[in-house]
């Protein structure tokens, strides 16, 4: 009886105080002083903070981060009054030089964190059919294609993907003609109802990872 209790306690301790966290590994990047700001909202290793609504950025492509930071800096993104989170992000890019933007993109790309939890409901099977047109640019496994200017979608928070698809649909993002890639995406956003958006995002976040 006594042994059994000890065993159960041991098992409990193993379960509750187990895993070695990814963020502790010494080879992971430490942000330069001027980029600690990024981690305040986007979290340790830019793992994302759903409460602040700052999405996961870990491992994001250098070229895509640069382009988005330029979009914020130039007011192509984060200028529409309905873009609540974009408006919060915009001043963070506005004061960075091109060289700093290049540096921060390198940093973002080097960060690592676990894939984000699934937080939305949706029908992945229905989403699979809808994803066909997305795959043309973003790839069959949502791995992205730099040549087409289409970022990877895997690894992004589901709630963030939903918000961005809604923003493209509603003209909140991709409405500035100088933002050619954004305009392209807005034109390609044919999903109109919320259910379809949730279904396709569910499909994307359930794609296998390498």
């Amino acid at each position: 009886m006594r042994i059994d209790l000890q065993l159960r306690l041991f098992a409990f301790v193993l379960l509750s105080y187990g895993s070695s966290p990814l963020a502790d590994e010494n080879n992971l990047p430490i942000p330069a002083d001027e980029f600690v700001y990024c981690t305040v909202c986007h979290g340790v290793q830019l793992m994302g903070n759903s409460i602040i609504e700052a999405p996961r950025l870990s491992e994001m492509e250098i070229w895509y981060v640069e382009r988005q930071m330029q979009a914020y800096k130039n007011g192509w993104r984060g200028a529409h009054e309905a873009d609540v989170n974009g408006l919060e992000m915009q001043p963070m890019a506005a004061y960075l030089s091109d060289a700093q933007i290049a540096e921060v993109a390198e940093y973002v790309n080097a960060t690592r964190s676990e894939l984000p939890p699934q937080t939305i409901a949706g029908d992945a099977a229905k989403g699979a059919a809808l994803y066909g047109s997305c795959a043309a640019c973003h790839g069959a496994e949502a791995e992205g294609d730099q040549a087409l200017g289409a970022p990877a979608l895997r690894g992004l928070d589901d709630w963030y993907l939903v918000t961005q698809l809604e923003n493209f649909r509603d003209g909140v993002r991709g409405g500035n003609s100088a933002d050619t890639r954004g305009v392209q995406m807005a034109a390609a956003t044919v999903l109109s109802d919320g259910e379809a958006i949730h279904d396709v995002v569910k499909y994307i976040t359930n794609l296998p990872t390498n």
Partner: protein, 494 residues
């Protein structure tokens, strides 16, 4: 634990030779209190603070201080003068905040009386009284007069559910007459309590004509200001720390020898069976403290993005806490024009987005002064200010001030704005739980998770007050002490 009234001194068990390493996360009021107390009990304490300054939201801005707002890092441009400062966070202390009083006394932080309410300040409503400011004293006197007249008439007409005895009627009429300064026949015709329109010293005093009762009823002053000074936290007399509220922080720092690391950012928190590991970035390196105990005041909304191994219900409780985004503006005025209007301290209330104007209680009749030019609690209004550039916020507040004080904007020499929802390493203030979540999680969060204690004003019924932070630290330390005593009793028996 006694929650109100006299504070029982913490009587922490002095540490044994083992289990003595403590990590304190965050160097605000709660973290500093824990560090101060545990250092005295013999613990090996390290304070880890993410920002570059100590103090958390206890922030006093002076000449040359950095305003570390996300995207708008800038410097306070007040004169280099110790009297020119602005309490951007907590700014007042009521005497019933007994823990705050205890620490101010113990740390020898001098306090003084600060006027929070003034009958000479204004209530200003864009839609009423012709959009002109009205002295609060005049408003209050007329409002009481009208109410008292109604009460008088009700007594006269026996309009109560229970019949009043003749004696009680007499007493009630006398009460109404005195409370509202009514004429002997129970009619309110104005009172000198509303202020002197003329005379009163060498010539007979003349009082103001009474205001329109329906205008009084329509105004918003009822909701907001007429009873604000009757809420105990805002009731006279209030106090503040002479020279700035951050003198409380300095008092702690003077009395703490343990290392307080700044610019040190926590990366993970992991409970072990017999301790707790804290990984943090410091000086470009990843460091780890294997501590015996951890006291954590990191804003709860960051905890979802700091890897940890907390139990699901505890993590859910932390994630359920929501934060607000109070916003303040401080303006250095080149002349103390409000004194020429007979205003010394206190608060003007307005329906404009700036909400309040505070007049300084210190530096009376000096050349200059720092006025609070905006203090907003409404999240939508704060967000409106957040989206403006710092320069635009000041000009917006200046234009609002012009509607209350003629020439207000022409006196502004320098200004700072502090949007707490956009401050580095804060991104919010005023934590709260929905009623359902409060029921579900609050007690859980007041109690430890393994070797980890969550502290800060966020773990109290008094968020946004330093007393809430002090109380959370006391609550955690008392629980901690029970555990330490129980452990030492067991090992003593061994």
């Amino acid at each position: 634990m006694q929650d109100t009234g006299p504070v029982a001194m913490l009587d922490l068990q002095t540490v044994s030779s083992t289990n003595k390493k403590v990590a304190v996360l965050g160097a605000g009021i709660a973290g500093l209190t824990v560090a101060y107390e545990l250092e005295r009990a013999g613990y090996d304490v390290t304070v880890i603070e993410a920002s570059k300054r100590i103090g958390g939201r206890t922030l006093t801005l002076r000449h040359g201080d950095v305003v570390d707002e996300m995207g708008y890092n800038r410097v306070c441009n007040f004169d280099d003068d110790p009297e020119m400062y602005f309490n951007a966070g907590p700014a007042r202390l009521p005497g019933h905040h007994r823990r705050a009083m205890h620490y101010c006394k113990t740390l020898q932080v001098p306090l003084r009386i600060k006027a929070n309410f003034s009958r000479s300040a204004y209530t200003h409503e864009e839609q009423h009284f012709g959009g002109k400011p009205v002295r609060i004293g005049r408003y209050v006197a007329d409002a009481r007069g009208f109410l008292s007249e109604l009460l008088y008439k009700a007594v006269d007409k026996n309009a109560f559910d229970q019949p009043l005895s003749e004696e009680d009627k007499e007493r009630m009429l006398k009460f109404a007459t005195t409370y509202g300064d009514l004429h002997p026949n129970g009619i309110y015709k104005g009172t000198i309590r509303a202020g002197y329109r003329s005379g009163g010293f060498l010539k007979p005093a003349e009082h103001y004509a009474i205001m329109d009762f329906s205008a009084l009823l329509k105004s918003r002053f009822w909701e907001q200001a007429s009873v604000s000074s009757e809420n105990q936290d805002w009731s006279e007399p209030l106090m503040d720390a002479i020279g700035g509220m951050d003198n409380i922080v300095k008092g702690f720092v003077r009395n703490i020898d343990s290392p307080i690391l700044t610019n040190a950012q926590v990366q993970s928190i992991h409970n072990r069976e017999d301790g707790i590991d804290i990984v943090y970035n410091y000086n470009g390196k990843r460091e780890k403290i294997s501590a015996d105990w951890c006291f954590n005041s990191i804003p709860s909304h960051f905890m979802v993005a700091i890897p940890n191994n907390f139990a699901a219900d505890y993590a859910a409780g932390l994630a359920a806490l929501r934060h607000q985004n109070f916003f303040k503006i401080g303006l250095q005025m080149k002349e103390r024009f409000w004194e020429r209007e007979g205003i010394y301290g206190g608060i003007t209330r307005t329906t404009q987005k700036i909400n309040q104007i505070w007049y300084p209680s210190h530096g009376i009749h000096g050349k200059k002064g720092v006025v609070l030019g905006a203090y907003t609690f409404d999240p939508r209004v704060s967000t409106m200010f957040e989206r403006m550039t710092p320069e635009k916020r000041i000009s917006y507040a200046a234009a609002c001030g012009d509607k209350i004080h003629p020439g207000y904007s022409s006196y502004i020499e320098a200004g700072v704005s502090i949007p707490w929802g956009r401050m580095n390493h804060m991104m919010g203030c005023g934590s709260h739980l929905s009623p359902q979540d409060h029921e579900r999680y609050f007690k859980r969060l007041q109690n430890p998770e393994g070797r980890h204690y969550m502290i800060g004003d966020q773990i109290s019924y008094h968020s946004s007050w330093q007393e809430g932070a002090f109380a959370s630290a006391e609550n955690a330390l008392l629980d901690f002490d029970l555990r330490v005593r129980a452990d030492s009793a067991v090992s003593g028996m061994g």
